[in-house]
Amino acid sequence: MNGMRAAGALALGAVLLFLLGPFVVIALAGLSAGETLAFPPQGLSLRWVIAVFGMENFRASFWLSLQLGIGSTLLALLLGVPAAYGLARYKVPGREAIRTVLIAPLIVPGIIVGLALLRHAVIPLDLGVTWALTLAHTVLVVPYAVRVVTASLDNLRTDVEEAAVMLGATRLQSFFRIVLPNIRSGIIAAFILGFVTSFNQVPVSLFLTGPGITTLPIDMLTSMEFVYDPSIAALSALMALLSIAIVAVAERALGLSRYV
């Protein structure tokens, strides 16, 4: 048994090294004091991390990604929360079918969504780049919003609402005073999940970005081809840290893993 234990521990260690090692590599490469991208780095310094904040193009694309993430997730929640509630608590005909429709964007590869929207919505309707991206990202996030909030609602006992209605509360009152506070952590979890999904998204946005207007991940992707200094590595490390921090906080505060 000890032999197997040792083998198992070795496997675990090797796999974790394989999965997490690249982040250490990227972080160290981004902390390089040198001029070119290298690992091991030629000395450690924060110069590139600081420099990245000053790079105009990255600042602009970061800002766009941030606004896009917040905007599209809010829209998705605005659409998704009522839908989740309506489908969970009311005997709607074709409930499963509607649910499938709402979840459908998850199954289609993002690049197809982006291309389809470009050809058959953005161009015919002459939408601006920002609107196009917002539309696409909202489509992407709605399934997450619906799924997470539905999970939340499933965990909420319905007799509390029924009791409220019996005692004279209107449905609206019952929703805002009883349901909403109780699914609040679910909604926040959906927001975080949606935001992270939108922020890191590449395929959907590929066909929809315009000259000078692009998301941060795509900006990084295109820069990779001609940038040979550690700036992208520093940026990657920062983005990774941001994502980890958001999810760690969410897990601590809300138990994010319950909803996923």
Binding site: R89, K91, P93, P109, L115
Partner: protein, 285 residues
């Protein structure tokens, strides 16, 4: 991570119209902003000069480059899934074997990469596999080769990148499946004289089969529909279906091929998701 069977809550209120009104905006939005445009895009694959035709598909299949890309995508998908299964079982078994506190910690560590943008995750391989990258430094330093090896823009590089991207999904799915096994199954088999290979292939594997199917379909779909990893690590030398699609549209405005590729991708994705649903609902029995 097994998809939960959601929406199992009891419908409470009888007023269907309110329910429909609440769900309408979202449903309409998804229908108009997603289903309609995608359907129109896919229909483009069936359109010829005089109307409906399958000629586009025939043309696609005749082009050697497209055939090569298709089979490469399927091949890499299968290889990544197989490798993830092997590594996944080793890792999952070690995790499940650990005590309750460590199990959560190891799982958390395995899940960590999933939170990070694929762009960052893939970029690290450029640093490691480039001509002056770490791996080549070691290889030339140790004298294993006089020249730095070309490791980037190869199928191997894409393969490695994809395994790193999707292995956590397999591990988590298997951990979930193995956790639910009764604790005395393995000791019982051992007491009855089974050796480890037998224990694995005849006890653990069959019992955790659904976790394997779920993990496998997630990994396969992900690999086959990947964009960033093939784009960064494969470039135009190692095209996969999505990078081919991007190239056809952005370079040649070849929307007919784009529609065909889109259809292939969707069919693959839908079929594997249907299998996924089968496997996870079978679990409920």
């Amino acid at each position: 991570m097994a998809p939960q069977q959601f929406g199992a809550g009891r419908a409470v209120f009888d007023d269907r119209r309110i329910g429909m009104a609440l769900a309408a905006p979202a449903a309409l939005f998804v229908a108009l902003a997603f289903i309609l445009p995608v359907a129109v895009l896919l229909s483009g694959g069936f359109q010829g000069v005089d109307g409906w035709t399958l000629a586009r598909f025939a043309e696609f299949a005749e082009e050697p480059l497209y055939r090569e890309v298709f089979w490469r995508t399927v091949k890499l998908g299968a290889l990544v899934t197989l490798t993830s299964a092997v590594l996944g079982y080793a890792t999952a078994l070690a995790i499940v074997d650990a005590g309750p506190t460590w199990k959560g910690r190891w799982s958390g560590l395995v899940m960590l990469p999933l939170m990070i943008s694929p762009v960052a995750r893939t970029y690290a391989w450029i640093v490691l596999l480039g001509r002056t990258g770490f791996v080549n430094q070691v290889i030339t330093g140790l004298g294993l080769s006089a020249e730095p090896l070309r490791l980037l823009f190869t199928e191997t590089a894409v393969f490695i990148g994809l395994v790193q991207l999707f292995l956590p999904l397999m591990v988590l799915s298997l951990v979930s499946a193995l956790e639910n096994l009764p604790a005395d199954v393995v000791p019982a088999a051992r007491v009855l004289g089974a050796r480890w290979p037998t224990v694995f292939f005849r006890v653990l594997l069959p019992l955790s089969r659904e976790g394997l199917v779920i993990g496998g379909t997630l990994v396969f779909t992900g690999s086959v529909t990947a964009y960033i990893t093939p784009a960064v690590l494969g470039g135009s030398k190692v095209l996969m279906l999505e990078t081919l699609l991007y190239q056809r549209v952005s370079v040649a405005s070849d929307f007919a091929s784009a529609s065909v590729i889109a259809l292939i991708l969707i069919v693959m994705s839908v079929v594997t998701h249907a299998l996924l649903k089968r496997a996870s609902s079978a679990r409920k029995r």
